[in-house]
Amino acid sequence: MKALAALIAVFFFVAQLAPGPAWWAGPQPEEDTYVVPLADPVLEARAKALQRELRCLVCQGQSIDESNAPLAADLRRLIRQQIQGGQSDNDIKSFLVARYGAFVLMKPPVRDDTFFLWFGPAMLVLVGVGVIGVIVARSRRRLGNDEESDLKLDVPEST
């Protein structure tokens, strides 16, 4: 009997974590998600900035700044508590990462396994510039030959 009760409890717990309706999981049944802002505007601004960098773990890709989920509200209160307790932004982030994993940070970590994620784009652009260089060089060579055979560049300016 106890096992059954435990199973039902686990089921309900897991059901809370399941994604909501197929579309936007935005405004959800309103519980108390109002978080009292900090009195000090500088600290409050820090809290707001931090909110945008942390992911709402039960939502579909929203930050805790955007989400109305109760968990997001709890996290917003938590970071304000920690800011008032004197923790730095990095301390708070490390605390949350220790609890929830790198998943909670909107910015992916720069590690070995995210090498291509972070450096791929720049590498792609560099390779592309190289390719363009080759294309332009080849074209200039042809242009030189064309000029030797006296071809005119008479393509007018407007498309």
Partner: protein
């Protein structure tokens, strides 16, 4: 009866698509005018039947026919009519029918603009219709096997489940159709490119046929993305308009490649340059559309936006994707070395500019794809979960956009093949001065705390200034403005439009003010120069919801400006609560007021934001789309003129 009619229509559309594919390809390879005509007829017929299926589905929704399963799952008798209609595409099955409908529209357009002889041009179009038919066949089979909207529900329920209240918005009427007209429309360029790869004669001629379709698709996609962004902005209740959400990225990637495509097409049509790049871009653009379709519907990605689906559908689309990408690329690899290069050009030339432009746009698209898929890949490969959110894209893609923005005003000024770059840069001196002035003003008056914001303002003014000086220089006087060629206006407006968007984005993100406070009736809060006083709240009844409606007086400097009425709506059928924000826009900025929860003791949480220049984001997109319309209109006008001239000479010859 309607369900079966729709089902039959889909099957007939499939049959006609098979005919279209067969006739399109064999007619072209044999040069047989009659078979090619059969292909055209099949394309039109297939379109008619898909339209029939679409309107049959719409009829089922409008009459609340709950014996059709998708209607029961997504509709309700009390739903307002406009949402019964637009709710047709508010779910996976219905939106696939819309997808097929738009594909049919483009196929029909290709068929109707086809020459009826057996010239190379006609054969090209015939093969293009064949490729369109193959795409239609693939997706019709997909729909019939895995996503049939005409499945019956027996016994039919008395009432449906209703539509997600967030979708009960005019945005649903515009955003998906525009978006689909965009990225499904890229299939036309894809089909012409694939057709051209088969036939050697059409190396550059295909561009002339395909370009209007590419521009039309790009214009629609620009408006579709803007509509989606605006819809998110006023509906989600916190003033955000872009979240780098996977589904948003799925629409942005084809847009970036389509932009590169229309520029590359310009070069190919002009000097025959970049034939292989243009082919590749046409194939890539639609491939990104298909990738997007896959990402949104397969359920592999975590998004507020995605349709919830079973993996069978994902697998099917993946197979289609695989064939659609590898087949043309194989053709391309085989044929590309044989393509002749275009006219030679120097380092300082418009061609180089277009190459850089294409590089940056496709690199941005590739980066967005990487960022979107990386969490998936890492999870599958190593079981590690990470998030790739806005900070990543800001760090990687935004610098590419910034670099693009720097180069953009140079494009219309640089000449083809060779340009005196010093003289060209000199022509932009006023724009440069304006940009520097804007930067210094921003530093002095607004004291921005982010480099990005400063850069965005500078680049926005640079883009707008570059376009203005381009037009001014070409016209020379106000009188001559009327006689400028359309092409001058298209580039100026499109580039300036992007500048306007940049200014809007920086205003709405860097300089927004926000305030959240609990107000009792009579209390006031301050935000960004406005004072907001909560006067009263009342309960109102809507067609399918009840709402708490607040009356909030907006004052500035003691003067009353207006009264706004944000609402919190409760939809009993769907069991959801949504916020209807009140936005008061002065075109130069938005005041955005949201009613939050009620607190014990009679107070209400009120959230208010002031978003300076936010309307520019969407106005800029409209300006860009307007440029696209001008481009299309100019072509149409030129065609009509040529037709009339042909008729005149024909009648003159007859006399």
């Amino acid at each position: 009866m309607t369900g079966e009619l729709g089902q039959l229509a889909l099957c007939l559309a499939l049959a006609l698509s098979l005919v279209q594919a067969f006739a399109g390809f064999t007619g072209a390879s044999r040069g047989n005018v009659r078979v090619m005509a059969m292909g055209r007829g099949a394309a039109l017929g297939s379109f008619v039947f898909i339209a029939l299926a679409f309107f049959t589905l719409m009829f089922a929704y409008v009459t609340s026919d709950f014996s059709v399963q998708v209607v029961a799952e997504n509709s309700h008798t009390a739903k307002p009519l406009i949402y019964k209609i637009s709710g047709v595409w508010g779910n996976h099955e219905g939106s696939m029918i819309l997808w097929l409908l738009i594909l049919g529209v483009y196929s029909a357009a290709i068929a109707m603009t086809q020459p009826t002889d057996n010239t190379a041009n006609a054969e090209l179009g015939s093969r293009a219709l064949g490729v369109q038919a193959l795409i239609a066949i693939a997706f019709l089979v997909f729909v019939l096997l895995t996503s049939d909207p005409f499945g019956r529900l027996y016994p039919p329920p008395f009432e449906g489940n209703g539509l997600n209240p967030l979708l009960q918005d005019p945005g649903l009427a515009f955003h998906p159709p525009l978006l689909y007209l965009g990225y499904v429309g890229l299939s036309a360029a894809f089909s012409f490119a694939a057709a051209a790869l088969v036939d050697k004669r059409n190396d550059a001629a295909w561009v002339r046929r395909a370009r209007p379709f590419a521009i039309a698709a790009w214009t629609a996609l620009t408006l579709g993305i803007a509509a989606g962004s605006w819809w998110a902005y006023y509906t989600l209740g916190w003033g955000g308009f872009w979240f780098w959400d996977p589904v948003e990225n799925a629409s942005l990637m084809p847009w970036l490649v389509a932009t590169a495509l229309i520029h590359s097409m310009m070069a190919t049509e002009r000097t025959g340059a970049f034939k292989s790049w243009t082919l590749l871009l046409a194939i890539t653009a639609f491939s990104f559309s298909l990738i997007g379709t896959f990402l949104v519907r397969s359920g592999v990605l975590n998004s507020v936006h995605s349709f919830a689906n079973d993996p069978r559908r994902g697998l099917f689309i993946l197979m289609i994707l695989f064939v659609a990408i590898t087949a043309p690329l194989t053709l391309f690899a085989w044929r590309a070395p044989k393509l002749s290069p275009g006219a030679a050009f120097d380092l300082a030339s418009r061609e180089t500019g277009i190459l850089l432009n294409n590089l940056l746009l496709t690199a941005a698209a590739a980066t967005i794809l990487t960022g979107t898929l990386y969490p998936l890949v890492l999870d599958a490969a190593e079981g590690i979960k990470i998030s790739v959110g806005p900070p990543y894209f800001s760090a990687t893609v935004v610098p590419m956009f910034a670099l693009l923005a720097v180069l953009m005003p140079l494009g219309p000024i640089f000449m083809w093949r060779r340009t005196d770059w010093r003289a060209s840069l000199y022509k932009l001196r006023f724009a440069f001065a304006a940009a520097m002035a804007a930067m210094l003003l921003t530093l002095a008056i607004l004291r921005p705390d982010s480099v990005l914001g400063l850069l965005a303002v500078t680049l926005g003014v640079w883009l707008i200034g570059g376009s203005v000086s381009d037009i001014a220089r070409r016209a020379g006087s106000f009188r001559k403005l009327r006689h400028l060629p359309a092409s001058a206006w298209t580039s100026a407006l499109a580039h300036a439009g992007l500048g306007v968007v940049a200014l809007g984005v920086v205003g709405a993100t860097s300089w927004k003010s926000e305030a959240i406070q609990v107000l009792s009736p009579g209390q006031t809060m301050n935000v960004g120069g406005y004072a907001l006083r909560l006067d009263a709240t009342e309960q109102v009844q809507g067609p399918n919801y009840t709402a708490d409606r607040a009356a909030i007086t907006v004052m500035s400097n003691g003067r009353i400006i207006t009264v706004v009425h944000p609402e919190k709506r409760s939809y009993p059928v769907e069991q959801m609560v949504t916020s209807q924000s009140s936005i008061r826009t002065t075109v130069l900025s938005d005041l955005y007021v949201v009613l939050g929860d009620s607190r014990e003791g009679g107070g209400w949480v009120v959230r208010a934001y002031v978003n300076p220049m936010a309307p520019f984001i969407w106005l800029g997109a409209v300006v860009m789309a307007f440029a696209g319309f001008i481009a299309l209109g100019a072509r149409l006008a030129a065609k009509l003129r040529a037709a009339r001239a042909g008729a005149v000479t024909a009648s003159a010859a007859a006399e």
